[in-house]
Amino acid sequence: METDLISKKEVLEQTGISYGQLYRWKRKNIIPESWFIKKSSFTGQETFFPREKMLSRIDTIKEMKDDYSLDELSDFFSPNPTKIEVHADELPSHNILSEDTLSFCTTLLPARKVFEFPDILNMSIIEKAKRIQVPREELQTLFLFLHEKFTPLKDSSLELVGLRKGEEYIWMLLPLHSELLVDHLAQTVLKFDLQQTMEELKITLTNSRGV
């Protein structure tokens, strides 16, 4: 599935990081285990990474590593969302969700004053789905589906896939990079790497919280 790969050697050459750093980051889970792709080569075995993800991750780490400790970075990037909580009044100031999405989603949830990470994550997914013009009642289905079935604390390497056939939408949670074949009348309208979405949100939330 993953097409564009970069070898470990190339990563070190291009980014100027050392073996020590690379292995330390692996150990701290700042670079996910699943990105280390082993392939046989003429020298035996060689490790490859998904090129774009890896290079942009290293950029992010380099930018952040002066301000945060390795353990803090590990918290950002680890699949388990930390105890991020945002007070309902503060949420608009983070500029992640539009007013419309916020009110749309909160009416579907039991009233609460503090939003936990999974809620904010689900809402930000709705925000993204809105941009590709998914009808409102389908958004509602999606939000409730995520609310009930998606537990970011437990399953992290999932992909959210939306299919459309005529007026019908189908939402699915699939293991990351799983192959999906659909008939020619159906159309894949949406595909989100949830782990990546999660990391992005975690970083935005932390950064916009008065750093």
Partner: protein, 263 residues
């Protein structure tokens, strides 16, 4: 006001042969043959005969010196084992010491770990520092901050640590090694008995590895397919197929390096 809450915890003592259903205790002591069927939450667990716990264990301090089996997951501040111990669940401890024979069927997580007997881990190891002087066998990855060993080590996955110090005095094998500083040295013992044993077992004091990657690498008595690093020193008795380096390379006599690539 709070006196009702302040219930004192009781001790559980099994000496002779006995069975308990588990629970919350201050101290748990098994000195004959004891069985605990259930979970245990206690400050102190001591097993000196034969003990089996079929549930999870949460304890401040665990000491076993006979033969013990814990079937559930274990969490403790300090674990010291000196007899034969078996953990069928995962084990998490701040400080671990094993000096007898120990088997961990799942993952092992700790801050410090001292091994001086024989230890087999069927899962992965994660933690702060390991000091191994007996025999250590790991079936998956071993990821720690510092690793030092002087006995025999077999790791079937990746050994990943900032500082790796391996003293070879028995045949050892580590599939892959990665870290910042990697030092492999031969321990020169001219013991006649050891030479005889090695001769009969057809073993030699080498570290076998497929790949060794680090910033500073120093190797002796190592046979590897690929060594990569910034500054690499290939000391005595090495047989390396390929060395790739970006800084300096120094190859001593009595060593063979098939191909040297500077990048």
């Amino acid at each position: 006001m709070n006196t009702v809450e302040k219930k004192e915890l009781h001790d559980l003592k099994i000496s002779g042969s006995g069975t308990s259903g588990g629970g919350k205790f201050d101290a748990v002591k098994i000195s004959g043959s004891g069985k605990i069927v259930g979970d245990i939450d206690c400050h102190e667990l001591k097993i000196s005969g034969s003990g089996t716990i079929s549930g999870d264990v949460k304890a401040g301090y665990i000491k076993t010196s006979g033969s013990s089996t814990i079937k559930g997951n274990t969490k403790a501040e300090t674990i010291t084992t000196s007899g034969s111990s078996k953990n069928e669940g995962s084990v998490m401890a701040a400080e671990m010491n094993t000096s007898g024979s120990s088997i961990f069927s799942k993952d092992l997580i700790f801050k410090t770990f001292k091994v001086s007997g024989s230890c087999k881990v069927e899962g992965r190891i994660q933690g702060g520092s390991i000091k191994a002087s007996g025999s250590l066998r790991v079936e998956k990855d071993c990821e720690v901050e510092t690793f030092s060993s002087s006995g025999s080590v077999h790791i079937e996955g990746l050994l990943n640590a900032d500082r790796i110090q391996i003293e070879i005095n028995h045949e050892s094998s580590i599939k892959e090694i990665g870290g910042e500083t990697i030092v492999v040295k031969h321990h020169n013992s001219n013991g006649l008995i050891k030479q005889m044993v090695n001769f009969f077992l057809q073993k030699e004091d080498y570290l076998f590895s497929e790949m060794i990657e680090g910033d500073e690498v120093y190797l002796e008595n190592t046979k590897a397919k690929l060594v990569r690093g910034k500054n690499v020193v290939i000391g005595e008795n090495c047989d390396i197929d390929t060395v790739e380096y970006s800084g300096s390379l120094d190859v001593k006599q009595n060593s063979r390096v098939g191909e040297k690539v500077k990048f």
